[in-house]
Symmetry: D3
Subunit: 62 residues, 6 copies
Amino acid sequence: MPTVQIEMLQGRTIEQKRKLVEKVTEAIAGSLTCPREAVTIIIREMAPEHFAKGGILRIDNK
Amino acid sequence: MPTVQIEMLQGRTIEQKRKLVEKVTEAIAGSLTCPREAVTIIIREMAPEHFAKGGILRIDNK
Amino acid sequence: MPTVQIEMLQGRTIEQKRKLVEKVTEAIAGSLTCPREAVTIIIREMAPEHFAKGGILRIDNK
Amino acid sequence: MPTVQIEMLQGRTIEQKRKLVEKVTEAIAGSLTCPREAVTIIIREMAPEHFAKGGILRIDNK
Amino acid sequence: MPTVQIEMLQGRTIEQKRKLVEKVTEAIAGSLTCPREAVTIIIREMAPEHFAKGGILRIDNK
Amino acid sequence: MPTVQIEMLQGRTIEQKRKLVEKVTEAIAGSLTCPREAVTIIIREMAPEHFAKGGILRIDNK
């Protein structure tokens, strides 16, 4: 049942995403004692102009 | 006032999206007894490499 | 696969929520031609002090 | 700590987004009395076929 | 049309929330040149046991 | 930078949530090769009347 939304900067490979969902699912199933099949993950990629910290876009953050 | 976010795999036609928002709005207005105009819907499309169930990316799910 | 998040003001009965998820699931499955079992819905209730339109909290909106 | 998600129609310039995150961060830090550095903002752009009000896609809303 | 979700720790007064939505709406309308009435804000409060940074719950963060 | 939202049924202990954020942060940092400090997690708990699968509320799912 756990439903997970992960927001991250664009640019990761499919291999990294594959590993990401495998490891995060494992971490959730292990911590909450629920079956792996119950875990749903949605990944959303952001352009660096769509993330800001402290009022500064990532794209401007040198 | 109801605000709805729908996450779905990419690849639907505009005609399907048109029907989707019409029918979902109708379903919400009818169930909650609120005016149709009060319902806002945001659609987000996912690539098959951005959705996972049971730790397996949709793209790997044959 | 469609994952739906519905944000609405608190105060609806279980019967209304039951009808809501039944009708919205039907609307989505019908519009997108997917099985009903593929549709997940998360409901989130808001206190009237947690929703604003035009800069005015719902609680102040007489 | 405040985490903000802003959903808006696509088509804004980087300059507008730069101003947006600066002003929103300032507004939050000022209202909640927290440091600007604590504010995270995620922007998500929507195509006009992905936003609906009253059951009508923005793209159909003349 | 901009739809904003703000996640923050619980404990703010109504007066702070009132100021928050007023200022954030103003900031968005000013930056994106849209009418104030087009801005919707949803506030969600978190208990300190529901926020983590660097793998540590806020409640454990002395 | 990864920002994670986890939606789960209410009823977990603080100890389970502590383990959850530790393990999920580790899984993300390891898969994406980013520092643990960059990972933010928001947990949201749902009442069983606020989650539905296949049009049936969890509360009705015997």
